[in-house]
């Protein structure tokens, strides 16, 4: 695979985005009520690819929607007829602008579970048909700790095209995958000029160093992994979960949480079955038919969430289920910081 690198300026980047929007189905962060969510856009003025990380939802819903139709059914006197749902609107060829690095990385983590014993074909189709353009942050936000986790942020290949605001005032656009190179080789880059890697790499490196130096939160994930795996039965979890109100916001905004529930929308004899987000913080999450609930109290549910992020997923798939984006901390109504808590428990 050849790596394509282009250099341009602010106006050139705008034209690059506009050219993409003109030729492709595009999703980008759109502001509503002060919060950015990824939506279908046709004009650059509707969206902001440089949206602040603290107020932007993840790109996960574009691959694992908050609610997706699974099937339709009709009950007749002869029995129940099940039919396929309409075509998936997210499975068409599309481009995502303004994805954050942490969100893109989260998809790599999710790929593992979606390609595990059951292959989720809907998810696969959405992944294959999407080109992700991700802008590297210039500065870490208050609750970011992505550099402290188990992936190489600088050489991350989770996005197809990388956009970097160089410290020299120029903007560098680099392909990271074959899909990305293919996109950059079309005329969308007509307002940018090619550069060699010898020119671009030192600038990208410098920008990354400045970015990586702006992190306030640092932890040793190996230590956290090792210590958490040994303390399943400590009273610490009961203490730290005290402030949690089990509101589930953390799981709903998390770019890697992937639990879901099934619900039906019925009108007389016809119905649609939906697959929607759920959260392990819900009291009824592990409730079984017959009434037994293995996690009846809050601290056990809370422990499950922390352990799944930093222990269980790591044991099974070799990755942390946390990408360090800080979305849960920002959204938490009582300001619980996952970073603070896992560090506190691990000590």
């Amino acid at each position: 695979m050849s790596v394509e690198t282009f250099v341009t300026d602010k106006a050139g980047l705008q034209k690059f985005y506009e050219a993409i929007m003109a030729g492709h189905e595009t999703y980008a962060p759109v502001e509503k009520f002060g919060k950015y969510d990824f939506k279908r856009v046709v004009r650059l003025s509707e969206c902001d690819p440089e949206s602040p990380i603290s107020r932007t939802q993840s790109i996960k819903p574009l691959f694992f929607p908050r609610s997706a139709k699974v099937m339709k059914y009709v009950a007749t006197s002869a029995g129940t007829e099940v039919s396929e749902v309409d075509e998936d609107p997210l499975a068409v060829k599309r481009v995502i602008l303004g994805a954050k690095h942490c969100d893109a990385r989260a998809l790599q983590v999710l790929d593992k579970v979606y390609n595990w014993d059951y292959i989720d074909t809907d998810y696969q189709k959405r992944r294959e048909n999407t080109v992700i353009i991700s802008t590297r942050c210039d500065k870490a936000d208050t609750h970011c700790f992505c550099t402290s986790l188990d992936y190489d942020l600088e050489n991350l290949d989770a996005m197809d095209v990388l956009v970097v605001n160089g410290l020299d005032g120029k903007i560098y656009i680099k392909s990271k995958t074959a899909k990305g190179a293919e996109l950059l080789n079309t005329d969308v880059t007509r307002h940018a000029s090619r550069v060699t890697e010898e020119v671009s790499e030192p600038v990208l490196k410098k920008q990354f160093e400045a970015f990586a130096g702006s992190f306030r939160l640092k932890m040793d994930y190996k230590e956290v992994n090792a210590k958490l795996s040994k303390i399943f039965d400590t009273p610490e979890f009961e203490d730290v979960s005290g402030s949690c109100v089990s509101c589930n916001t953390c799981a709903f905004v998390c770019p890697t949480c992937h639990c879901f529930k099934i619900s039906d929308e019925k009108v007389k004899d016809t119905g649609v079955r939906y697959k929607s987000y759920d959260s392990c913080n819900n009291g009824y999450f592990t409730l079984m038919a017959g009434g037994h609930n293995p996690r009846p109290v809050k601290y056990r549910r809370w422990r499950q969430r922390a352990m799944h992020k930093f222990v269980y997923y790591k044991e099974r798939f070799g990755e942390n289920l946390c990408v360090g984006c800080g979305k849960c901390t920002i959204s938490c109504p009582v300001n619980i910081s996952i970073f603070e808590v896992v560090n506190q428990v691990a000590q």
């Binding site: 509503k32 009961e238 005290g242 402030s243």
Partner: protein
Amino acid sequence: MNYTKQIQDIAARLFAEGKIDVFVGYRVNGFDDNQVPALITGPQEVSQLVFTEKSVFNLVNYLKSDHTRRKRVGLVVKGCDSRSLNLMLTENQVKRENLYVIGICCEGVTDDAGQKMQNCTECMVPDAVVSDELLGTPTATGMKPYERNVDIKALAEKPLTERAAYFEEVFENCIRCNACRHSCPLCYCAKCCIDQETATLYNGANTTSGAFHALMTWSLHLAGRCVDCRNCEKACPSHLPLHLLHKQNESVIYENFQEHLAGVIPEDRGAFYKYSLKDPDDFIM
């Protein structure tokens, strides 16, 4: 507004006298100036407690938590929080003898941007209405006259189609996490009607109609009970203006049901729980 010292002293005294098992207050988050509710179980942790204008979250929510069940609880309440506590007491959710309540004469709390919150600028009951001990100086002037919320007034002036479009946008942006419900101190049902697996009255999916059903049902269950603490808005990850639903209900109830304000008078059952000959009946055909 800073009652850190007083609250620490009271909490230490209560633990020393053996009057409480757990104290619910606020502590500083280690990362920014936001505060985290702290559930303190012993005198050694009392020094964590703080109380400033950043003490936003309504702690009455924790009375329905596993951590306080069947325990004697010390609790800090502001004006709005104390109104929700009053309702919890009236609705038999907590026992008064198990509580030691520190009331605050609140001067208003601030949001993330450091601005005084809208409900605080409009607040009619800043002083705690239920308390064992009151901190601060009670307002001398008495209750402010009732005025409709500014956002409600602005919305009411818009044409119906515009209002409908606005609320459609609200419901479209709801992600159905139910954080509003869980963070509400007065949503204490063991199982919400929206979560029933059998006899599903409500669609659990994240569709505009599902969000409409869930939010409207929720706001109607809180009609005449919402105390405007804005826990729900603070919890909403989509920053939805949920107060519009509650403030509209509040104004209708205040104007039609003998100036009823939720939780201000102890033992006062909600507007929908009592019958009065003065209740309006002109909407009945």
